[in-house]
Symmetry: C2
Subunit: 178 residues, 2 copies
C-alpha cells in the first residue's frame, strides 16, 4: 500500500471516530499484533493517546519491555484478519503469518507497520502510571503514515459479541471544533 508522511497535527481525526485498531509490538525477534477498541485521544499536538492493553495480552509484556508500539488502522477489507487477531494469542502463533498481514519496518520504533492498513502511527510510551490499575498506557505519536488514496476509509467499530459497525457516510456540519 502506498505510504506517505501524515502531519502529526491531524492524527486526532483518525482516531477520535473510535475505530478498531491493530496494535503491534516487537521484542527479541518476536512480533505481535492485537485488535483493540479501548483508546482515546488525550492531546492534539503532539498527539497523545491513552490505550488499554490488558496484562492477559502477549502484547502487554512487549509494550512494557520496549515502550514502543505501532497503531495501525484497518478497514473492513481486513475484517478476517482483525477478527483473527482478536480470537488468538501471540503467545501461541505468529499472527502476521496466520492472517496474511505484512510487517514493514517503521522509521522510529522497533514495532512494525502493517502494510495492509491505511494508516500507521509510530508511538512511544510516555506515561505508565495508570498501567497497574487500568492497563492504560499513555502514548505519544512520533511519526504518522497514511495511504493518500484513501479518502473515506471504511473503518470497523466494535459493538461487542461479534458485531462490528462499519463507518458510514460523512457529513459536513457547522462545527467550530478542531
Amino acid at each position: 500500500m502506498a505510504r506517505k508522511n501524515f502531519p502529526l497535527s491531524k492524527v486526532y481525526g483518525l482516531l477520535e471516530t473510535g475505530p478498531v485498531i491493530l496494535l503491534t509490538t516487537s521484542h527479541k525477534d518476536k512480533q505481535d499484533v492485537m485488535a483493540q477498541s479501548w483508546h482515546t485521544m488525550l492531546e492534539f499536538e503532539p498527539p497523545q493517546i491513552a490505550a488499554v492493553v490488558s496484562n492477559r495480552n502477549a502484547s502487554y509484556d512487549m509494550l512494557k519491555a520496549t515502550r514502543e508500539c505501532v497503531i495501525a488502522i484497518p478497514t473492513v477489507e481486513l475484517s478476517n484478519a482483525v477478527v483473527g487477531c482478536g480470537n488468538t494469542s501471540g503467545r501461541k502463533i505468529d499472527k502476521f503469518k496466520k492472517f496474511g498481514l505484512t510487517a514493514a519496518e517503521a522509521e522510529t520504533v522497533c514495532a512494525p507497520l502493517i502494510e495492509e492498513c491505511y494508516a500507521n502511527l509510530e508511538c512511544r510510551v510516555i506515561d505508565t502510571r495508570m498501567v497497574n490499575r487500568y492497563g492504560l498506557f499513555v502514548l505519544e505519536v512520533v511519526k504518522a503514515w497514511i495511504d493518500p488514496a484513501r479518502k473515506d476509509p471504511r473503518t470497523l467499530h466494535h459493538r461487542g459479541r461479534g458485531y462490528f459497525m462499519v463507518a458510514g457516510e460523512t457529513l459536513k456540519l457547522a462545527s467550530l471544533a478542531k
Copy 2:
C-alpha cells in the same frame, strides 16, 4: 423518549464504537452539557470509562465539584444540538434551552439525563489522579438507560473540522471477543 433500564454488563458496547457523547453536569442550580469524543472504556463490569474534560470547559469545574455526570449518546437526528453544544460555552448560555434538549431527573446522580438521547449513563468520578496532567476523569457507570426501540442507532463520530462520520451498517463476524 421511552426509557428502560439497561444492564451495566452491556454498557461497553454502547461506547467502544467511539460515538460523540453529550456529557451533562449540574451544580448549584446550574446545568451544563458539552459535546465530547475523547473517551474510552477501561473495564467491562462495573463499567469504567476514561473521559477527557478540559479545564477550558465550564463542565470541568462542575465535574470536579460534584464528581457526578451523565453520558448521553445522541444520534444523527440531534446533529444541530451536538454541534451547537460544541460551538458554545455553558458559561454564557443555557445550552439545554438554546438547543432544544430536555433535561430529565437521573436516579442516582445530580446531573440530568437528556430525553432526546437514545442512551443515558449515570456516572460517578472514581479517580482524579490523571486530571491535572491530562484532564482525564475515570468514571464508573452506576445506572444505565436505553430507548429499547432503537436497535441500530445512527451515532455520530467526529473526524474533526466540521466532519462527522455517521454509523453505518453492522456486520456479524466470527469474533470470540466480549
